[in-house]
């Protein structure tokens, strides 16, 4: 993991990709897509942008497996927090009281 030097070209490309992503997400936010698609598109673009930052700006792509595991564990625990909390909220209406 130690001395990998990412070339400037890569940094520039990532930066441009992030700019395109930002423009895209604003454009998409103003369109009226059917159903929950607006949310899905916005989050997908955000996840892609974040992934680019993590992989290249933060060098995770060139890092040891340990860093991957640590980062993944944070997402996993976020997932637990969301999934189990919403296991309550989403199923509250299921139960017909009458």
């Amino acid at each position: 993991m130690s001395e990998h030097i990412v070339p400037v070209r890569v940094y520039l490309m990532i930066f441009l990709a992030l700019m395109v992503g930002t423009a895209l997400t604003i454009w998409a936010g103003l369109q009226d897509f059917p159903g929950p698609l607006n949310v899905v598109i916005a989050l997908t673009i955000a996840v892609i942008k974040a992934t680019l930052v993590v992989l290249y700006f933060m060098h995770v792509r060139y890092s040891s497996r340990l860093i991957w595991v640590i980062f993944a564990s944070a997402l996993f625990w976020m997932g637990i927090l969301f999934a189990l909390t919403f296991s309550d909220y989403w199923t509250r209406g299921w139960f017909q009281v009458h």
Partner: protein
């Protein structure tokens, strides 16, 4: 720095309890990542509250969100991504030993960070003018949603809740920005003194990790707070 034994260990920056620079580097990088994990969980709690209430009150959240200044939000997104880029360049310049570029990149990062906060302050001030500071935080200007165009089905109470979450999340983000600016300033100070180079660039790298993380938080905050529900306006 503890006891320094430059003669024994080779590099002046090696702390006494590490065997070598590699171990020290590994430890500090790992430490920052573990810290970022805690940061993710910290923001996670707020994202949870946001998700819950947004799914419960979509109209109110959309109405409130539409009242935010999209232009300023977008500009801030660009500013922050740019600062992330300059930060990456600072790390790069340190790694290849270009001191001039290193100092310029760090200074630019600082400048962009300050710009972000400045624009944020302008936005906050707008909210203050519009009576949109939630609750009785500003006693002379209690929250009043009458300036917000309510979509059908939106309850002003929930508009207030949106602003509350907006201020909590962007406020926490801004606090992190301020801390980041503090850290980068220290790094810049030592960089000017020539402390960092290809041999020893870990502090720059680790601060960079933090800075990028703050950027990532904003990458999510921007669409969630400014964009979702915009389409209902049209």
């Amino acid at each position: 720095m503890g006891h320094e034994h430059p003669a024994e260990h080779g590099h002046a920056a090696l702390q006494h309890h590490f065997e070598n620079m590699e171990q020290q580097r590994e430890a500090s990088t790992l430490g920052m990542w573990v810290f970022l994990v805690t940061e993710i969980m910290f923001f996670g709690g707020m994202f949870l509250a946001y998700t819950l209430y947004r799914s419960k009150y979509p109209e109110a959240f959309a109405s409130a969100s539409n009242h935010l200044d999209l232009k300023l939000g977008a500009i801030n997104t660009v500013v922050l991504i740019l600062s992330s880029f300059t930060m990456a360049m600072a790390v790069y310049s340190t790694q290849i030993g270009k001191r001039r570029n290193q100092i310029i990149s760090l200074a630019l990062t600082l400048l962009l960070g300050a710009t972000f906060l400045g624009i944020k302050a302008v936005e906050y001030h707008q909210k203050y003018e519009d009576h949109l500071i939630p609750g009785r935080v500003v006693p002379s200007r209690p929250f009043d949603a009458s300036g917000v165009h309510l979509l059908p089905g939106a309850n002003p109470h929930n508009v207030e809740m949106f602003y509350w979450i907006y201020f909590a999340m962007t406020g926490m983000h801004a606090v992190h920005m301020i801390i980041g600016i503090g850290i980068i300033s220290i790094i810049l100070f030592w960089a000017i003194r020539g402390k960092y180079g290809p041999e020893y660039h870990n502090p720059v790298e680790v601060s960079g990790l933090y800075w990028h993380f703050v950027d990532i938080v904003w990458i999510f905050l921007f669409p969630l707070l400014y964009l979702l529900g915009r389409h209902l306006e049209h």
